[in-house]
Each structure stands twice: as C-alpha cells, then as structure tokens.
C-alpha cells in the first residue's frame, strides 16, 4: 500500500516530478557515461599492444619509447643499428621480433617501416592479430599496406600510388617524389594507432633514403637510378626500435636486463604493459576531474530533488494528517517519502541507462573514426552496481531530510492542520 501511495503521489505531482526526473536522468547519464567512456578508453588504451613482451629502442625514458613505438607520438632520440637488432633477435629466448623504422610520413600519417612479420606477430586487444580488409602484405620494395583510417580518410584503394614525405609534418618540403608506393593491402580497423599508420618494408625506407645525406637528398646519387638488382640487395643499416616476443615469459626480466646492459650500444627495453599502466596514471587526472565534476552535478540534482520534496511538504501536511488518523505510524510516513525518492531515483537510473545506450549507439561510429576509440554500447561494468548503489544510498540520505520532517510533523501536529 505504501508503494502504491508513493507511486500515485508522484504521479499526482507529475509536473514537478518530471522536471526533477529530467535533471536526474541527465546527471546520472553523465556520470555513467563518463565512467563508461573512461573505462572503455582505458581498455582501448591498454590494449593498444598485446602479446609483446619487450619493446626495445635507443636509450631513453620508457614513456618516450612507448609513445613513439606504439602511439607514433614524438620522435626517437636515436636509432639503433640493424646489426644489433639481428643479434638480439637471434637470442635463444626470443620467439619473434618486429623491427620498426619511423621518421617518414604521408599527409600527416606516420609511415612505419617493418617486415612481413609485423602482420604475423603483432597483436592488440585480446590477443587479436591484424586482419586484412583488402589485399595482402607487401612483398616488394615499393609496396605499402595502409591502416583502416588512412585508407578511409584519404579514400585510397588497392592499386593507388602514394608519395611519402621526409619528416612527420602534414606539410613537408622534401618529398620522396621519385619513388611512389603502390597500395597492396588495407587493414581492418583495430581502434589502435595501427589504423593511422602507413606500412612499408624496411627496404622501402632504405630505398627512398638512398643518396640522402644529413637528412637532405644528395645531387650526386638520385634514388630513382637504383635498378631492380640493387633494390633487391638493399639492406637496412638502422632501425628505430623493435618489439619482441619470448618463448617463455619467465625470461622477460633477464632479457630486459641483458638488453639494458648491452655493451655495444646503449639500448632500453621496456615492458609494454607496465609502461602503458604508468602512462594511464598520468592521464587519469583528467578522468578524475571529470568524475568529480559529474559527481558535483549529481549532488546538485539530488539536492534539487530534496528541495522539491521539501517544498511539497507544506501542501502535504493534510495528507500526512489523514494517514496518521488512519493509524499510520510516523516511521511509515518517513518511509513513504523515502519510497518516493527511491522510485524517482530508480526510474531516473533506468531512463539514464536507456538514454546513454542510445547516445552511445549513435556516437559509436564517430568515436571510432575520429578518436580510434572502440567502445561497447552497453554502459555496464563490474562496479556499476556499486556506483548505482552509492547513488541510491546518497539519494535516500538526502531524502531523509524531508522524510524526517514528515516524521516530526506527524508526531507533533496531530490530526489538525493549522492553515
């Protein structure tokens, strides 16, 4: 009966209740939305690279190394010699390696020089391998495989020819005009920086830089003068870094130490998982601030709900007196008001969930194409129950103010209502 009373009482005041409900739905939606995107972003972020045990580059900080090898952000402090790369990849504990040569770009997208092992061993997310949406890995020097985003944004298809630029700016003054690359493969979207990369072979990188000195093309030797035989014989001398997978995870730390203490060249080896976690820590203050702002919005809304109830208490004196006359105990009137808070909040949570799911459904393609953020549409996580329980608890706590007033009033006022 109390539930029915609470429900009908809310319905009776549907105008004000509707407004309160709207603001509750918006702020609960915001809270859940921010929480959801935060977790999904973290998920997406930490799954940028998977299955790789160590990332190796020239001696530098682990975040710098992580940024330029995995996220293609920033530059390497130095290159490492191809010879030493080969030496480490021969190590008995190493199962596979992927060389990475960075430094060129195409219309703002980074060019990654690597070898076909990249398409075989590179994994992201839940150990997913790269999948070709179209075409196949490069087999020749002047062939390229595009990330999903590159192909989509620049509307490239198989067979198109593209020109790489030296350096990583959107506008470059030195382009490798003589040697166009042919698109032979386009990768499926991954939601990682792979989507924004242009992949070529190490030989390709070497070929376009033939005859360059000090970062500038030399007049003496034009790269186009290379013939097929010379091309085939091209061997890279330097790479930016490499990823490696081990036969057994147990060797991770031993090998990391060996590489860090590599005598012939100063190298740094990092554990991608640990580095990603450390980097997320740095980024997390933004999400925490967002959460705090949302929590404040929510508090404001709940205070609004309480105010609405408090304002209604005056006109409900009569109602409470009638219920008292019928034998309702003061605590039952307390719970009547709390039930109204509970019903409103529960309804708001339900509606907020629906709204958020709808919004996510609409935004999903946009987030994926603009931010490489692949999120699930259902805003539900392990701790969502906890979050919502906290929310409900807080609503009930604030609702206890008007509820206590109802309780007090019903104790002191008796049957008469003085107007």
């Amino acid at each position: 009966m109390l539930v029915k009373l609470a429900r009908l009482s809310l319905w009776h005041r549907k105008g004000t209740v509707m407004l309160t409900l709207c603001s509750l739905v918006i702020s609960i939606g915001l809270l859940l939305g921010i929480d959801h995107i935060r977790l999904e972003a973290k998920q997406s972020f930490t799954s940028t690279v998977a299955g790789t045990d160590l990332i190796v580059g020239a001696r530098s900080g682990q975040l710098n190394l992580l940024l330029y090898t995995v996220f293609r952000i920033g530059n390497a402090t130095n290159n490492i010699s191809y010879q030493h790369y080969q030496q480490i990849s021969q190590h008995r504990a190493v199962a596979w390696t992927i060389p990475l040569a960075l430094g060129d770009s195409h219309k703002g997208f980074r060019v990654l020089g690597t070898n076909p092992d990249y398409f075989k061993f590179f994994k992201y997310g839940a150990q997913q391998p790269l999948v070709f949406a179209d075409g196949q890995p490069f087999a020749e020097v002047y062939q390229t495989v595009l990330g999903a985003e590159v192909a989509k944004k620049l509307a490239y298809k198989l067979g198109d020819q593209i020109i790489l630029s030296h350096g990583v700016g959107v506008v470059s003054f030195s382009e490798h005009r003589g040697q166009p690359f042919t698109v032979v493969g386009i990768l499926a979207a991954t939601g990682t920086p792979v989507d924004q990369s242009v992949h070529v072979s190490l030989q390709g990188i070497e070929a376009i830089h033939q005859g360059w000195q000090n970062g500038m093309p030399s007049r003496r030797l034009q790269p186009s003068s290379l013939d097929a035989a010379k091309l085939a014989a091209l061997q890279p001398t330097q790479i930016t870094g490499f990823m490696l997978g081990l036969k057994s995870k147990a060797a991770t730390f031993a090998l990391q130490r060996q590489i860090n203490e590599f005598k012939a060249e100063p190298l740094t080896a990092i554990l991608p998982g640990a580095a990603l976690a450390e980097m997320w820590q740095m980024l997390s203050f933004v999400e925490n601030m967002l959460l705090v702002v949302t929590a404040l919005v929510l508090v404001a809304t709940l205070v609004g709900l309480t105010t609405t109830l408090l304002a209604a208490m005056n006109e409900r004196q009569r109602e409470l007196a009638i219920l008292r006359a019928l034998g309702a105990r003061p605590w039952q009137l307390f719970w009547l008001i709390e039930l109204e808070v509970l019903l409103t909040t529960l309804l708001a949570i339900g509606l907020a969930m629906l709204k958020l799911t709808a919004v996510l459904f609409v935004l999903k393609p946009w987030l994926s194409s603009n931010y490489g953020l692949v999120i699930s549409v259902i805003p539900w996580h392990e701790h969502t129950v906890l979050l919502l329980s906290l929310l409900l608890g807080f609503a009930l706590l604030l609702g206890a103010i008007p509820a206590y007033l109802a309780y007090r009033q019903s104790l002191s006022q008796g049957l008469m209502v003085r107007i």
């Binding site: 219920l323 309702a328 105990r329 008796g414």
Partner: protein
C-alpha cells in the same frame, strides 16, 4: 464488529493535559464514559480544547496524566506504536474538510482504512455497500477524490471511517463546509450508518443547531465538571441536562500546577 453492550466504548479517567511550558491545565476531565452505540455531541467554542481532546481520544497525542480505554482496551497511557495500532483498528476519524487523499480513487480512499491495520482490508462489497448507502453514484467510484464536491467528499470520509466497523467514530466539525441542505442529509447518513455499524460517535462542533441530531450532548465546560451522558437503561441524560451543568456533576479538585 461485535460489541459487548456492557463494556463502555470509551472511558476516560482523570484526564489532565497541559501544553509544555504553560502553567495550568489546558484540559481536564475527571471522568467520561460512553456506552456502545451512544452518539454524543460535544459543543465548544474555538480554543476550548476540542481538537486537543480528539487528539488524546484517538491516541495521536500522548496523555501525560489519566487513562483512556476504548472498548475495554487501554489506549492511554500506552506506547506510541500501540496507540497507532489501536487507532487503526478501533477508531474512525472524519475531519472538517479535505478528508481524502487527492490522488487516490474514491474506492482506494475508503480501502486505505485497512492499510495500517492487522485486520483484513475492507472488502470491495463492504466499500460498495457504504458508498451506495451514502448516496455516491457508481460512476464516481473510480474517479479521483479531488473531482468530488465538498459534500460528496465528506460522505466518502464517513465511508472510510466506518469501513472497518470501528468501535468509535470521532468527527471534528465535519459539516462546517456544507450548506444547510447538505448538512442535514450528511448528519442523517452519518448517524444512520454509524448505528448500522454499531459504532459509538463523538461529534465535536461549535454549531448548536447540530445538537438536535443527538440524544446526548455536553459542552466543554460540562466535560471539565465531569458531567456524564448516561447510557440507555439509566436515567437518560439528554438535552435537558445540558442546561443544568450541576446535575450529575462531580466536584473537582483544585487544579494543581502543571
């Protein structure tokens, strides 16, 4: 409800009440006894303590001194929860006006009588019987209470107060918002249905004209003197008594400090 005709429906003993922080008793009644099916009219000017009396009789307000029994069961002194329980089961209340919960239907308003008791809810048949007897047409039953006229609302209030056949019906100036015609039909319906339900009635008003509907009447001053409305069988203390406050009066002690 079966009522033992020998047990008083209401019994007050040495009731004394004062508002906290004030000197002197706001209300004191040495004794009052109402037998089952008695209908008592209590007249008093505004501020004479009528409402306080009703709050004490219904157990909403705790009684600091004295005792109240309803059908032999102690209502005061008693714990608040127990008083609420007894009120829900044995007392029906009708206010001056605005007796109904505006957002419930007529039928639900009447059904509310059973919401806070351990008794069975009033059956639909009982509700429909009362609504019909009180002249509320069937097309109103499931409409909202706030669509009724004041007279109709007051009749629904009677139906609710009598739905569980309570021992005692307390009416606090229920006719004050009604015109003369409506008032007359309201009074007749109230008393007829109370009689049919074997319910004892205490009716409080400042309006002398209403006294004609009752065979027993007292005013607040007489209550303070301990004048008794006598039960059937004894010498009837009726209208004539009201004009002679000394008859049946018990001398009362000097009021002590509150």
């Amino acid at each position: 409800m079966s009522t033992d005709p020998n047990i008083p429906a209401l019994e007050l003993k040495n009731l004394r009440f004062c508002w906290p922080g004030t000197a002197g008793f706001a209300l004191q009644i040495p004794a009052l006894r109402l037998m089952p099916r008695q209908h008592l009219f209590i007249r008093g000017a505004s501020g004479s303590g009528k409402t306080t009396l009703l709050n004490l009789l219904s157990g909403i307000q705790a009684l600091p001194e004295g005792e109240v029994f309803i059908a032999g069961e102690r209502l005061q002194p008693q714990s608040a929860a127990r008083r609420d329980f007894i009120r829900a089961e044995k007392v029906g209340v009708v206010f001056q006006q605005l007796n109904l919960i505006p957002y419930l239907s007529i039928v639900d308003n009447v059904r509310l009588a059973g919401a806070f008791t351990a008794k069975a809810m009033p059956t639909t048949a009982r509700i429909e019987y009362l609504l019909t007897a009180l002249g509320l047409s069937q097309n109103l039953w499931y409409g909202l209470a706030n669509q009724l006229s004041v007279g109709q609302q007051q009749r629904v209030a009677i139906a609710r107060a009598l739905a569980l056949q309570p021992t005692l019906l307390i009416a606090d100036e229920p006719t004050s918002a009604l015109d003369a015609d409506n008032r007359d039909s309201f009074m007749r319906l109230l008393l007829a249905e109370a009689t049919a339900a074997n319910t004892t009635v205490i009716f409080v008003s400042h309006d002398r004209q209403l006294a004609e509907y009752f065979s027993w009447q007292l005013d607040m001053a007489q209550l303070a003197l301990g004048v008794q409305p006598l039960a059937a069988g004894g010498p009837a203390v009726s209208t004539s008594l009201a004009t002679n406050p000394d008859l049946q009066a018990n001398p009362i002690e000097e009021p002590s400090a509150c």
